[in-house]
């Protein structure tokens, strides 16, 4: 039994190791950003998106089902060695949340906000902070694609003044705010901040309440160092970036009615050794204190059953063309060379 047709909501332990297909209609809405690039290529090649049901994702989903949403938000942290499937588990959970009708705030990679930024504008709202217009507007665009149906339903509770002539009144739909942020690139970072604040306030509300899922990939980037520099060549601390500042407020558990799911990522992280994968090492002291208390969810390498399942999936899709790879010995070689690491296995099979 390699495939199961059930959506994430109905999956349980008996489906461990099986693949389920993400319906194509969901694909572009739920995951405009956020999937690992190699996985996106695989989806394009196979013409379908199949995700393996694994233990960490199931654990997360069961926690989300049983959690009490009137209490302050619980934070879940996925951690594991490089290439063990943390981002994929996160995407699995995000898919579950969106099928359940939650509002999903998916930040594909927090590291993208702290490095390689070409334009850094001083913020209009707060003198000592810096804006990142391109990243913010990109994110707002993707946010709009993901949560179309919520944008008209949520109404703003506060009046926001952008410039002397621009302002958004109270009671306007959120969609208008987001559109404004996308079109007016200069103030997009502040729009992001406003959106996050509104959602935080309204998430646990009883009237028209929705559940909010904040999914952050590479959360350790929020507390490290940045590679950005001010005009006088002095380094920028993460707190001085508007986006990072607002996101940190979201991750704090002072609001209720949702969950925060985060992944650690060494791949994009700055100034972290490549062998580091534990939360303490990657988050640093400051990050660990902010994230504390959290529910750690370890993501391990493929078990025997999972490896078997992945191997059969590749065979089924005729991805393994080499005749030797279809034999038992070839399978043993694959096990040895990849040590059951999902990403290593994927790269290995790519040229077989």
């Amino acid at each position: 039994m390699l495939y199961t047709c059930l959506l994430p909501a109905c999956q349980s332990e008996q489906h461990l190791g099986q693949y389920y297909t993400v319906p194509p209609s969901h694909f572009h809405t739920v995951f405009p950003h956020g999937l690992p690039p190699r996985y996106q290529q695989q989806v394009k090649t196979f013409n379908e998106g199949c995700v393996m049901v694994r233990q960490p994702a199931l654990e997360l989903i069961s926690h989300l089902k049983r959690a009490d949403y009137s209490k302050p938000t619980l934070r879940y942290l996925l951690y594991g060695v490089k290439g063990s499937g943390k981002t994929m588990s996160l995407c699995h959970t995000v898919h579950y949340c969106s099928t359940q009708g939650w509002l999903v705030l998916h930040i594909p990679d927090a590291h993208l906000w702290v490095k390689n930024c070409k334009e850094l504008l001083p913020s209009s709202y707060h003198a000592s902070r810096f804006d990142q217009p391109i990243q913010a507007s990109n994110w707002l665009r993707n946010f709009r694609t993901t949560n179309e149906h919520f944008l008209s339903k949520i109404k703003l509770r506060q009046r926001y003044v952008w410039t002397k002539r621009e302002s958004t009144e109270e009671g306007r739909p959120l969609g208008e705010l987001v559109d404004m942020g996308v079109s007016r690139v200069k103030s997009s970072s502040d729009v992001v901040g406003a959106v996050l604040k509104e959602l935080r306030l309204q998430a646990g509300g009883t009237e028209g309440g929705f559940r909010l899922a904040v999914a952050v990939d590479g959360v350790n980037g929020l507390w490290g160092r940045t590679t950005l520099k001010k005009e006088d060549k002095s380094p920028v601390a993460p707190e001085e970036l508007t986006l990072v500042h607002n996101l940190r407020k979201m991750i704090n558990n002072d609001w209720c009615g949702g969950a925060v799911i985060a992944t650690l990522s060494q791949t994009g992280s700055l100034y972290a050794p490549s062998s580091a994968y534990l939360p303490q090492e990657l988050l640093g002291e400051e990050g660990f204190d902010s994230m504390d208390p959290f529910v750690p969810v370890p993501v391990s390498l493929y078990s025997e059953k999972e490896f078997e399942s992945c191997y059969l999936y590749y065979l089924d899709r005729h991805w393994l063309q080499h005749p030797h790879s279809q034999t038992e010995e070839g399978k043993k070689e694959l096990i040895f060379l990849s040590n059951r690491n999902p990403s290593v296995l994927e790269r290995l099979c790519a040229f077989l």
Binding site: V81, S275, F336, L337, N339
Partner: protein, 360 residues
């Protein structure tokens, strides 16, 4: 014969007359002997150099076919002449051909001839190498393989053995021997070997020689060690180009490998290095059987992988049988790689690279 011989001899003497005048002073008998010997020599000299003929022009099947045809033709000829095919000799053949095909030609080689193909076609060497280009004989690359193999055989008893030491000889004879006596003994044995027909007394000579251990083909296979749980383990170390590695191989494991404390997938991100580690295990078909704890230092990632590969092969020896050890040796898994970085020479930029040549 004498008359025709005289003509060639005369010309020969005239040729040799320039090189040595002593011939003229030699007595007539000796001259005749010398002349007759030189006749034989001249025939050999005039014959073509067989070895330099080049690759064979006639294939084996062709020669075989020719032999068959010759035998059939011989029987036909015998029938034609009315003689018994079984007792038809070469002399009979020659007479029959001379009778059937009378020729007025003077040159012997131009007259019709019927001889056994081995005498007609020049003796040539078969192809010395197989389909993969690897030569059959182990002395092929000396150039004169047959000669050297002949030399090798005749002195075979001396190669790979040494004379008895003085202490060993004393032990054998149960007597005390002085150094002078021992020297005389060795001298006598060498003189014996230098005489012709010494191979007759080979057994006698061998009694006083000891075989030398050929170091290269002997692998020290350490016995298996067992730890407190009864699990067999063995160690091995290897070196490659300033990288040294040691491996502790444990039996009944799951194929997990840790290098310097970290997982091998993280230590060797390059696929090639992991393939190097896999090679000895995969070759013997024991991929999932062993657990390994390795430590390695020095060199770069490739040389560390090579060092570990050698170490793994050496550690695996204690788990394998003799035949498997031999296959591993032939696969080159047990040979340490002798290549190191070549020295930089003065006047050159690197080991081989010269400085840029400027015309002016």
């Amino acid at each position: 014969m004498a008359a025709s011989g005289g003509r060639t001899v005369g010309s020969f003497l005239w040729k040799c007359g320039n090189c040595c005048f002593n011939f003229n002073t030699v007595s007539s008998n000796l001259t005749r002997q010398v002349l007759s010997r030189q006749l034989c020599v001249s025939a050999v000299l005039h014959r073509k150099n067989l070895a330099a003929a080049g690759p064979e022009k006639f294939s084996e099947e062709f020669i075989k076919k020719q032999v068959e045809e010759f035998n059939i033709g011989k029987r036909h000829l015998a029938n034609m002449m009315g003689e018994d095919p079984e007792t038809f000799t070469q002399g009979d053949i020659n007479r029959s051909i001379a009778y059937l095909f009378p020729s007025g030609l003077f040159d012997k080689k131009a007259k019709p001839l019927m001889k056994h193909p081995d005498e007609v076609f020049p003796k040539q060497r078969a192809v010395q190498w197989g389909a993969d280009g690897r030569p059959f004989h182990f002395l092929f690359y000396t150039g004169k393989q047959s000669y050297y193999s002949l030399m090798h055989v005749s002195t075979g008893s001396l190669v790979g053995s040494r004379w008895l030491l003085k202490e060993e000889l004393e032990e054998l004879l149960v007597e005390t021997i002085s150094e002078h006596d021992y020297a005389r003994f060795i001298q006598l044995m060498e003189r014996l070997l230098s005489l012709p027909y010494c191979s007759v007394e080979e057994d006698f000579v061998q009694r006083y020689r000891r075989q030398l251990e050929i170091q290269s083909s002997k692998q020290q296979v350490q016995p298996l060690q067992y730890d407190q749980h009864g699990v067999a383990y063995s160690t091995g170390d290897g070196r490659r180009k300033t990288a040294t590695g040691t491996v502790l191989l444990r039996d009944s494991g799951s194929g997990s490998i840790s290098i310097n404390g970290t997982n091998y997938v993280h230590y060797f991100p390059v696929l090639q290095d992991r393939e190097q580690l896999m090679f000895p295990l995969h070759f013997m078909g024991v991929l999932g059987r062993f657990d390994m704890q390795c430590s390695v230092s020095g060199g770069g990632h490739s040389s560390q992988a090579g060092a570990l590969r050698l170490a793994i092969s050496r550690a695996m020896l204690s788990f394998l049988s003799e035949g498997q050890v031999e296959t591993m040796r032939q696969a080159g898994l047990l040979t340490p790689d002798p290549r190191i970085k070549e020295r930089k020479k003065p006047g050159q930029e690197g080991a081989r690279r010269k400085f840029t040549w400027k015309k002016r």
